[in-house]
């Protein structure tokens, strides 16, 4: 018995040391960003929130923030419009190719963004000349980037409901495919839809590689450029965007929890 108790104690000490050491490793840099962005000018200057206040005085920065938010909205809408009907359709009518769709959706994890952008260069040149040179065209590429994350979220949502029975019931009552998807199946997986949308927003707000190398200025590119001119303000923006994404992800975890609660209630 005492051997077991001794081992328990050892395990508890081990766990506490691990959590303390790694907790410090992960929290200190984030704390340091707050510390850095609230530094006053000169030695022994008092703490100040000036850097946060001056964010609004950089029109380029405000523009970049707006661009990134618009891109995030467009990308999540586009992702839902493209992926949700496809996944439902494949599940119901083309189950044979579900592995192919999964493989394609996870492919962007294997093709690094830096490689993708080398191939996207000529395509975006063509788009800029023939369609539009707006930064919002980046949403085309971003939709590819978010595929792996959103696919998993949506797949989990689809697996949790009986798609076949729902659609057969709806079709049997005379519903068309549009009605089946948007009015029968989508409302039943609203948690997964929101989850996927929030994940895309988080990915788009953090994207740097593609925008930078295609010469578009989104939030991250602007923050990086600003960092070379005014470190405190750019770190303040970094802190603010980090907080924003964190709030998003907390929201996301709540969405996940309410869904599992409802499922448990139904059983």
């Amino acid at each position: 018995m005492s051997a077991v108790r001794a081992r328990r104690l050892k395990l508890r000490i081990f766990r506490w040391i691990v959590f303390l050491v790694l907790g410090a490793f992960f929290l200190v840099p984030i704390g340091a960003m707050f510390e850095f962005s609230t530094r006053g000018v000169g030695e022994a200057a008092p703490r100040t929130l000036d850097a946060f206040v001056t964010i609004g005085q950089y029109p380029d920065l405000v523009g970049a923030i707006v661009n990134s938010l618009e891109l995030a909205a467009i990308t999540s809408m586009g992702m839902l419009l493209l992926l949700v009907p496809t996944m439902i359709w494949v599940k119901l009518r083309l189950p044979g190719i579900s592995r192919v769709v999964e493989f394609i959706c996870l492919l962007p994890l294997t093709i690094p963004a830096i490689v993708l952008v080398a191939g996207l260069g000529p395509i975006y040149l063509w788009i800029a000349l023939n369609v539009s040179d707006s930064i919002l065209t980046l949403a085309f590429a971003y939709l590819i980037l978010v595929l792996p994350y959103t696919y998993r979220a949506l797949y989990a949502g689809l697996a949790a409901i009986d798609v076949k029975t729902l659609s057969e019931a709806a079709r049997g009552l005379g519903a068309g495919w549009g009605t089946v998807m948007w009015r029968v199946i989508a409302p039943n997986m609203s948690g997964a839809l929101l989850n996927a949308a929030l994940l895309s927003v988080a990915v788009v707000l953090g994207e740097f590689t593609i925008a930078n190398l295609l010469n578009y200025v989104n939030l991250q590119v602007e923050v990086a450029q600003l960092g070379r001119a005014n470190a405190a303000v750019s770190i303040a923006v970094a802190v603010a965007s980090l907080l924003f994404v964190f709030v998003l992800l907390v929201l996301l975890s709540f969405v996940g929890r309410t869904r599992s609660h409802r499922l448990r209630g139904a059983q």
Binding site: L94, P112, G119, L143
Partner: protein, 299 residues
């Protein structure tokens, strides 16, 4: 009922003209495949084909151009950086995952750690670079504090903006990723196996050496490979941290793509990108194989 319903659905799906099995249901998948073909497969094809073309036509000059010293050393540095940060991430992440797995499986602390790992594993790029500059840059919080109280960490020169610095910064997203990937394997370990070892007279060392170790090894190696690929493809963090010189392959590709340094070499960039895709694909294929092996025992 489902048989009748599915024939009804099939009848609806059949074309009115009555052609033999014209696959109408394929139409539903066309938008997705069309989109992916345009924005994922076409760019990849452009990279692969473009690596063998120049303005004057078919050529091998892009590939032979890879032999230049600075390109070779960029790739070697990338491999060193990815391997070291993958190993550090794998060991650190496995320890953290074990500490999590031995706790209450439905406790809120576990959920907190897992959500934090989910956030931090994605927390790369410019923000991460700034966080480390604010921490251990020359004017960083920790640097100043250590200078006053303990030791000057930059007594031998500033190493944050070199390969060593990148390893440290990459560990910040590698460790959480390892926790996410490796925890399911650890959760698959049953306490009964330990009890069985003990009732056969085995000690802790025997349990890890002959039972848990061999079971977890494929999952651990697979996860390490995933971390390698993850570090190998990362661009933004290194870009924001390193202002001068393309010391790793992604930075070199970025330099050759843009005319920032006055030399715009799209062909060479594509050849480098091709090498990168090949390396990442090999690593990820091995990862997938090991994953399949892991799934046999631990679910």
């Amino acid at each position: 009922m489902s048989a009748a319903a599915s024939t009804a659905i099939q009848r609806v799906g059949r074309p009115v003209g009555g052609g033999r099995r014209l696959p109408v249901s394929w139409i539903g998948a066309v938008p997705f495949f069309g989109y992916v073909a345009l924005f994922l497969l076409l760019p990849t094809l452009i990279v692969v084909v473009g690596a063998f073309f120049s303005d004057s036509g078919l050529t091998l000059s892009n590939l032979t151009g890879l032999q230049k010293d600075f390109i070779v050393s960029a790739f070697v540095n990338s491999v060193i950086l990815s391997a070291t940060s993958a190993l550090i991430g794998a060991v650190g992440g496995a320890i953290l995952a074990y500490a999590v797995a031995t706790g209450n499986p439905s406790g809120s602390f576990r959920r907190l750690v897992l959500s934090a790992c989910g956030v931090l594993a994605q927390f790369g790029g410019v923000t991460l670079a700034f966080a480390f500059i604010a921490t251990i840059g020359q004017a960083g919080f920790l640097t100043l504090w250590l200078q006053q109280h303990v030791v000057d960490i930059y007594a031998g020169g500033v190493w944050l903006y070199q390969l060593k610095g990148l390893v440290l910064v990459y560990a910040y997203f590698q460790i959480p990723l390892m926790v996410l990937v490796f925890l399911p394997a650890l959760d698959g370990i049953r306490p009964q196996w330990r009890e069985a070892t003990e009732s056969l007279g085995g000690r802790t060392w025997h349990y890890w050496r002959y039972v848990a170790g061999p079971l977890l090894a494929p999952a651990f190696i697979g996860a390490t490979l995933l971390l390698f690929a993850n570090a190998f493809s990362a661009y933004a963090t290194a870009y924001a941290l390193i202002n001068q010189g393309a010391i790793i392959a992604p930075l070199q590709i970025g330099n050759d793509l843009t005319s920032e340094v006055g030399l715009h070499q799209p062909g060479l960039a594509k050849a480098e990108a091709l090498v990168m895709v090949v390396i990442v694909t090999v690593v990820m294929t091995l990862y997938a194989l090991l994953q399949r092996r892991t799934a046999k025992w631990l679910q």
